[in-house]
């Protein structure tokens, strides 16, 4: 079965033993890009897939991957899923709502991606009904469930600084007698988007300026339990897993229901595969090919391979995703449609780097000593070169999950009440309403309620919706959330420029 969309030219890899190529020349119409677990197909060195804005490319630097027997692609658990189920190459190694809806239609809801454990709103619901999977199908959200109270990295229970009450429970899971907070095994369920498996040298890069400290929170960074080395804490939405290895173990147990665990060989194969993947948008319907020598040098998947990881680029004169001068237009210049779109992207890049806004009430940004509010541009937080992540690491309470700013709908709502002895949340105090306590579910700390680790900007076009809770359906909506949250007063042109900029990454 053809897996790869081959409309655009193959990207020549100039590294190692990699071979260039697009395995199949299927056209976009009628082509099913879904990668089923256990298919045994070969994932080529360069695999390109169409999306709404153009196409995304997944590079396998080590060359074509024979997926037969490969633990990333085989259903190694009891529910028929593999890692690839939720990290689809066609969706930039995450998964989009469009893909999920198509999969529901094609399989009548029987695909393992809809597994009761976390592919439904709650395992207790009738699994053959669409409504039982509404959060996945409408918002791309999987159920993430935590034993409550949490257990620390040392294996000892953590005494939380707050109590949790369920205020609204639209999925029924948090009040369920088996799966809920008051069950025999108290569990809290929140709902999140899967992250990109790709460009991981950036995601795992440890802050080279402040290590061994997480400079913003004044804490030591976590450590890899096997090596004792400091870790980035940027892998998960709540930074709960320190390494790719621990993430793979956890995902196998929870999402794949592989209760026997992963063998050392399986773990090694998964990590090796994940670590050589690079993902970025490679073609734009309006701007054209993003991989040719004349485009801005930070675009395309090869740029992700070639660039250095862990570099901070948060100054007005720096270029977070490389310079975009190649696409800048002279004022008054006559431009064709493609050139005008490229100029818009270049303006968006410039806005992202230099447009200052008053950033206010963001835990783990305004609290780091810079003052509240602080006038900075987007790169003040999104500062890691080539990815737009935070190098520090990047868990912050932007307001995407906490009231009053959260715009999430149809999610459970919790009331968290912090102990008088705890250090309160700096901008919400001791009683906080949230759809997802975020990092606080791991640490039990009041001040970290709602803190979510930011994710990379590459391949965005391939994987809507956005934010950890899928509350922004489009890239434009992402921009509009920031516009409202920080009263940016963006013009229509600026919103469009920023949207266009994000769509080519």
């Amino acid at each position: 079965m053809a897996k790869v969309f081959g409309r655009f030219a193959a990207i020549a890899l100039a590294v190692g033993t990699a071979t260039a190529g697009v395995a199949a020349a299927a056209s976009s119409s009628g082509f099913d890009p879904w990668w089923s677990p256990g298919s045994g197909d070969v994932l080529p060195a360069s695999a390109t897939y169409e999306n709404a804005y153009g196409a995304v490319t997944v590079l396998n630097v080590d060359g074509p991957v024979d997926t037969k027997g490969h633990p990333f692609f085989e259903p190694i658990g009891s529910n028929g899923r593999a890692c690839v189920t939720c990290h689809q190459p066609s969706d930039g190694m995450s998964i989009s709502v469009g893909t999920l809806q198509e999969r529901w239609k094609v399989t009548n809801g029987t695909d393992p991606v809809f597994a009761a454990i976390d592919g439904s709103n709650c395992p207790n619901l009738p699994q053959d009904k669409r409504s039982s999977h509404s959060l996945l199908l409408d918002h791309g959200l999987f159920r993430i469930f935590y034993a409550w109270p949490p257990v620390g990295a040392n294996g000892k229970p953590i005494e939380p600084e707050f109590t949790i009450e369920v205020v609204e429970d639209p999925t029924g899971c948090n009040l369920d007698p088996v799966y809920g907070l008051n069950s025999e095994n108290p569990t809290i369920s929140v709902y999140r988007r899967p992250r990109v498996v790709g460009n991981l040298k950036y995601v795992t890069a440890v802050d080279r300026i402040a290590r061994p400290f997480e400079v913003k929170a004044g804490e030591l960074l976590g450590v890899d339990p096997e090596t004792g080395q400091r870790v980035s804490q940027n892998i998960m939405a709540d930074s709960r897993e320190p390494t790719l290895k621990s993430q793979a173990r956890s995902a196998a147990a929870n999402h794949l229901q592989a209760h026997g665990g992963l063998s050392p060989e399986q773990l090694e194969a998964i990590i090796k595969f994940e670590s050589q993947l690079y993902v970025a948008q490679s073609f734009d319907k309006k701007a054209g090919d993003l991989t040719t020598p004349d485009v801005p040098p930070g675009l395309g998947p090869l740029a992700m391979l070639r660039s250095e990881a862990g570099v901070i680029a948060n100054g007005a004169q720096q270029h977070l995703f490389g310079p975009f001068e190649a696409w800048s237009a002279q004022p008054g210049a006559k431009l064709d449609a493609a050139a005008e779109h490229r100029a818009s992207v270049a303006r968006g890049a410039q806005l992202f780097q230099t447009r200052t806004i008053w950033i206010k009430d963001v835990y783990n940004f305004n609290t780091l000593g810079v003052g509240n509010p602080q006038k900075r541009s987007c790169v003040g937080c999104h500062n890691m070169s080539m990815t737009g992540m935070d190098i520090a690491p990047g868990y912050m309470d932007l307001g995407t999950t906490n009231l009053p700013h959260s715009e999430a709908k149809n999610l459970p709502l919790f009331k968290l009440t912090c102990s008088p002895k705890a250090q309160p949340h700096p901008y919400l105090g001791r009683v906080i309403y949230t759809h997802d306590p975020g990092r606080a579910l791991v640490t039990g700390r009041c001040r970290e309620i709602g803190a979510i680790t930011m994710q990379q900007f590459r391949g965005l076009a391939a994987r809507p919706p956005y934010f950890s809770n899928g509350s922004a359906k489009t890239l434009r909506e992402v921009i509009e959330v920031y516009d409202r949250r920080f009263d940016m007063k963006l013009t229509e042109q600026e919103i469009q420029d920023l949207t266009n900029f994000m769509s080519v990454l």
């Binding site: 802050d207 080279r208 300026i209 402040a210 290590r211 061994p212 400290f213 400079v215 929170a217 004044g218 804490e219 030591l220 450590v223 080395q229 400091r230 008053w358 206010k360 009430d361 305004n366 609290t367 000593g369 810079v370 003052g371 509240n372 509010p373 602080q374 006038k375 008088p420 002895k421 250090q423 309160p424 949340h425 700096p426 901008y427 919400l428 105090g429 001791r430």
Partner: protein, 265 residues
């Protein structure tokens, strides 16, 4: 004032009383809501006390410590100078500004116009002397490094300062932790003693502002835990703490919010 901290009337002896006009050299300790002025090239923070405006920080100034936050009161502890006003405010030096941890929505306000105000001076950071590389510092971030001391490695004390009411380790104190850890490595297998303290601040209006009970313990345990986490090669770490042992004097109160680490080779 929120309930976490206790205020009690007391006589002020060494600090300016609430009704007196402050003169150069006078020490002022007061609580206030911060004000933020939109000035270029740097924004400036100010606070008012007894009808007078004081300059309390420049956003990203070379010496800026932890800056004020809207929705929080600040504790300002400083000495009045006769330096030219900044942003219309009297300059205090030395200056300590602590953001009180409790939320105080009465301290939320708009960014004020900086038109006509003298902005903070943009002073360049002094060039950093290149550090001598040392094997101990492999893997340590560039910001956290300082020169490794030469032998002999005798008993040495380090002080870690805290802002009022918190155990947050600000960036300069994170750097100090690396200095301490480095010294423990150089000192062989030393005995390490960690002593945590809180203090009560004597305000200029005669009131006392006490840090919360239990904070001295949290500070001490945090520092000893960090030393263990960093892999300090100790024989033992002795950890003690005591809340507000000294009588506040309005002069030394800020420096008493501390942890003392003693390294004995």
């Amino acid at each position: 004032m929120k309930g976490l901290f206790s205020l009690a009337a007391a006589a002020a002896s060494l600090v300016v009383s609430g009704s007196a006009e402050a003169a150069s050299g006078d020490r002022l300790n007061f609580l206030a809501c911060p004000q933020l002025y939109d000035t270029l090239p740097m924004n400036c923070w100010a606070a008012e006390y007894n009808g007078e405006r004081y300059f309390i920080g420049a956003q990203r100034g070379p010496d800026s410590s932890y800056l004020p936050q809207m929705k929080h009161q600040v504790l300002v502890e400083g000495v009045v100078t006769d330096a030219p006003r900044v942003c219309g405010g009297i300059v205090l030096s030395p200056l300590r500004v602590s953001v009180l941890p409790e939320l105080d929505l009465s301290c939320d306000g708009p960014v004020l116009s900086g038109d006509g105000l003298t902005p903070p001076t943009v002073a360049g950071r002094s060039p950093r002397t290149p550090l001598k590389p040392h094997p101990l510092h492999e893997g340590i971030g560039s910001f956290m490094l300082s020169d490794v001391p030469e032998p002999p490695y005798t008993t040495k004390q380090f002080r870690i300062d805290f802002d009022f009411g918190t155990d947050l380790l600000v960036d300069q104190m994170q750097k100090r932790m690396i200095e301490i850890w480095t010294y423990t490595k150089l000192a062989g297998t030393p005995k390490i003693t960690v002593e945590g303290y809180t203090s009560t601040t004597l305000l200029s209006d005669g009131n006392r502002l006490a840090e919360p009970e239990g904070l001295a313990e949290r500070r001490a345990k945090k520092i000893s835990g960090m030393l263990e986490n960093l892999g300090a090669p100790n024989r033992e770490i002795s950890v003690t703490w005591v809340d507000s042992p000294e009588e506040p004097d309005g002069v030394h109160d800020a420096e008493r919010r501390r942890v003392i680490v003693t390294i004995e080779p």
